[in-house]
Amino acid sequence: MISIVGACIAVIVGVLMTINAAFMLASPRAWFHLPVWLRAQGSLTEDRYSSGWGAVQIRVTGALILGARAWVLYDMFLRR
């Protein structure tokens, strides 16, 4: 039972991180406009991180998260 709850948490964490990371990579400005229950922006502000160097940081962070997520899925299910 408890492992089922854990599995649900793992799936939710994975899905939320993937959605956030995808928007961060594609468009930092669009990421800041996601619904509040979906957006995990933390203490980051749109003024500072939606353009210029701030947006670059957001895009790279999104790319790193997506890359890590893809590697984990590959290693867990495909790699022998």
Partner: protein, 180 residues
């Protein structure tokens, strides 16, 4: 690539790669280690509502406002941790405190390296505490301590809880690996 190199060094030193990976048999003359890949997502909506309610009971509308602001510093959510060397997955609830307005809502991903002699599965499983220094979203570091599992482990971190956050989580095993 890293895993292949570690396997080769383990075999070269006459140690089973699986044992070396599990952190139970350090490879002689080699800094054998494994890693834990973790991610967590939290929301401060429940804590804002709770802070608003408690503050309102104590101090009326000003108290409710103060309570909501204080609640925004906390977040509840979940953590998922993967140990590549044993292909084990752990997950569980997490509570975060980030001393910045709205900091309780956010996510973070990190990779901590576990030195030889410590079992990464023991660290990923059960109760653990972490401190994450995140001066920039893509540059940060995290320190994780799991009671009864040896000294704290450290690694790089990316995330949105700038500049620092403190977390506690309790993970259970979701997927058992080869030696987890």
């Amino acid at each position: 690539m890293l895993a292949v190199a570690t396997d080769a060094l383990a075999i070269w030193h006459g140690v089973s790669p699986d044992l070396a990976k599990c952190g139970r048999a350090p490879v002689r003359g080699v800094a054998a280690y494994s890693v834990i890949v973790s991610g967590n997502v939290t929301s401060n909506i429940p804590t804002i509502i709770a802070g608003d309610a408690i503050g309102g009971l104590v101090g009326g509308p000003p108290g409710a406002f103060a309570g909501a602001v204080f609640g925004s510093l906390f977040g509840v959510g979940g953590t998922a941790s993967y140990v590549p060397s044993t292909k084990s997955l752990y997950a569980g609830p997490t509570l975060v405190f980030a001393p910045a307005l709205g900091g309780g809502s956010g996510f973070s991903g990190n990779v901590v390296s576990v030195p030889a002699g410590q079992n990464p599965n023991a660290i990923a499983n059960g109760l653990s505490y972490s401190v994450t220094f995140q001066p920039m979203p893509l540059l940060g570091s995290t320190v994780t301590k799991s009671p009864g599992s040896g000294p704290p482990v450290v690694g790089p971190s990316v995330g949105t809880r700038v500049p620092v956050s403190f977390g506690v989580s309790y993970n259970v095993r979701v997927k058992k690996g080869s030696c987890g």
